[in-house]
């Protein structure tokens, strides 16, 4: 088990490495000079006033932007390894504190969203698997199709329209007390619940057809025990599998949801930084996101072992 974990960790290193190269290259090919934007404080690359070119050259040298790309990359990677993610060009401060300040809101939103998703998807998925072709089953199929087809940002706007503009019940933006969590959390949860409901339903149906479930019933166990003790455990594996993919989705979705609700999280920071051509911040966040997803996938791999002891790690 320990050996397996270590080997998986080692295998993740070249992938992380490749991701750093991709992310670095992409953002350094971006047109739009961050120095000019910094001086002009405009998004369109407008250089304000009488800034002469020598001044720009000095600033560019100061940020190391005058060096060849591969040298910038090696420097950047070396710093990352030492935990220094560079400096934000726009905010004129180190990247890490900026990210750290936005980390908690995003994590909280993800937790609330995931919690709501499970609260919605678990009962629906289970009941629709146990009572196939019942009203609940049709409802849950419709529900999951809605969740899969609804653009998250639009759902967010519609909720704002109803609950904030029309009824004035909930605040539209920011993170300030539990009321602000309601709408963004629900939007994220609803969009995740669609896929999750389907997954729970189909994996439980698959398990319920297995011989050992028949055996358990045949030996006279109560249906409740058959389902809770025999079926749930094995149905959980595919559900756990998509957790890692869900996490990648949450990070993507958070850009949209956080923009709609002016949530002070990483998604909005990325969006603002892209507009400002603030490479270091975007790089750091994309990289952080990818690393988190890789580790989430590794963790789900290991969690299988607890759910299903038959799985052996070689």
């Amino acid at each position: 088990m320990l050996q397996y974990t270590i080997r998986k960790l080692l295998a993740a290193i070249p992938i992380v490495f490749a991701i750093t190269i991709i992310v670095f290259t992409i953002l350094h090919m971006t047109p739009g000079d961050p120095i000019r934007i910094l001086i002009g404080f405009g998004v369109g690359g407008y250089a304000g006033g009488d800034v002469d070119d020598s001044m720009i050259e000095v600033l560019r040298a100061k940020w190391g932007l005058d060096q060849p790309l591969h040298i910038q990359y090696v420097k950047w990677l070396g710093n990352i390894v030492r935990g220094d993610m560079g400096n934000s060009i726009r905010f004129r401060s180190p990247v890490w504190p900026l990210i750290k300040a936005r980390l908690l809101p995003t994590i909280l939103l993800a937790l609330v969203g995931y919690g709501i998703a499970i609260l919605l998807a678990f009962p629906l998925g289970v009941i629709s698997a146990l009572r196939q072709n019942s009203i609940v089953d049709y409802f849950s199929t419709g529900f999951s199709l809605f969740g899969l087809s609804m653009p998250v940002f639009w759902l967010g706007l519609m909720l704002i329209l109803l609950f904030s503009v029309r009824w004035g019940l909930l605040p539209t933006s920011g993170m300030n007390g539990w009321k602000t969590f309601v709408m963004p959390g629900f939007v994220l949860g609803f969009s995740l619940a669609g896929g999750l409901t389907r997954m729970i339903r189909s994996s439980l149906l698959e398990v319920l057809r297995q011989d050992y479930v028949n055996t358990a019933r045949a030996k006279g166990l109560a249906e409740r025990i058959v389902i809770v003790k025999h079926a749930f455990r094995n149905a959980a594996i595919p559900v756990v599998t998509i957790f890692g993919l869900n996490l990648a989705y949450i990070l993507s979705g958070s850009v949209l949801i956080e923009t709609v609700f002016a949530w002070p999280g990483l998604g909005r920071l990325v969006f603002q930084s892209l507009g400002n051509r603030d490479y270091p911040v975007v790089q750091a966040i994309v990289l952080l996101g990818a690393v988190v997803v890789i580790f989430a996938n590794l963790t789900t791999d290991l969690v299988y072992g607890f759910i299903d002891p038959r799985i052996r790690y070689e």
Binding site: P14, T30, W154, L157, Y249, L251, L256, L274, V286, N297
Partner: protein
Amino acid sequence: MTRLRERWRYSLLRQNYVRFRKNKAAVVAGIFLTLLYIAMLFAPRLAPYDPLEIHLLNKLEAPSATFLLGTDDLGRDLLSRLMVGSQISLTVGFIAAGLSLIVGVCMGLMAGYFGKPTDPLIMALVDILMSIPALLLILAIVAIVSPSIFNIMLVLGLTMWAPYARITRGKILSLKEQDFVEGARAIGASHTRIMFRYLLPNALAPIIVMATVSVAGAILLESGLSFLGYGVQPPQASWGAIIGMGRRFLRQAPHMATSAGLAIFFTVLAFNLVGDGLRDALDPRQKNR
């Protein structure tokens, strides 16, 4: 003619078609999409107004008999803008999904068929693509290349192929050990021929299902990009961009965001319904799963 009819009668295609027809929701969704795509082709002619024509006296007007879905912040007719905007949203969705299908299936075929050392390399690429949150990656790329409709299709297509590669590879791995492949090799078929004539047709069912679902995914992604302002640039407007505009006038003119969002929602829903229908028809073992 009779022979053709005979062939159709016993063909696999007909069996699939009969099974698909049983799913009423999927059939309705399929008809809806067909009509939508036909309407899209003729949108500039069908539209009641020029989508770029500005009626400054009718800014942000609510739906009425003159402007069926109301007007936007410059007094442009929203229905006409939605109709012409459908060309962008639907084309991007279709072409991007098609591109990712071609790339992903080829990658998956090669990975599954050739084994080491091609397989681990391609799968590493797949792992990389799947670990970077999609929208972040696409946003970062679209920020570099100018967000023309062509570039957006290209970027979406080249970032969405990973699931295709995974599913194709899985199918190929189980297929390539079978006797008919051995037979093909024995009569001297080339690698390309074995891959495309023998393996691919047998792996097609899950790929077709994934294709419909990924058109839905591409339309959603494109609308998200446009909403954030990284889609096609004004005065052109895809559905996502209209919602993005509508967001600014949510209080004065809620109809802007509402109608464009409904358009996206129903289109994506229809693709998902057709996808479900195809899954039931092409992959009967998966039924009730």
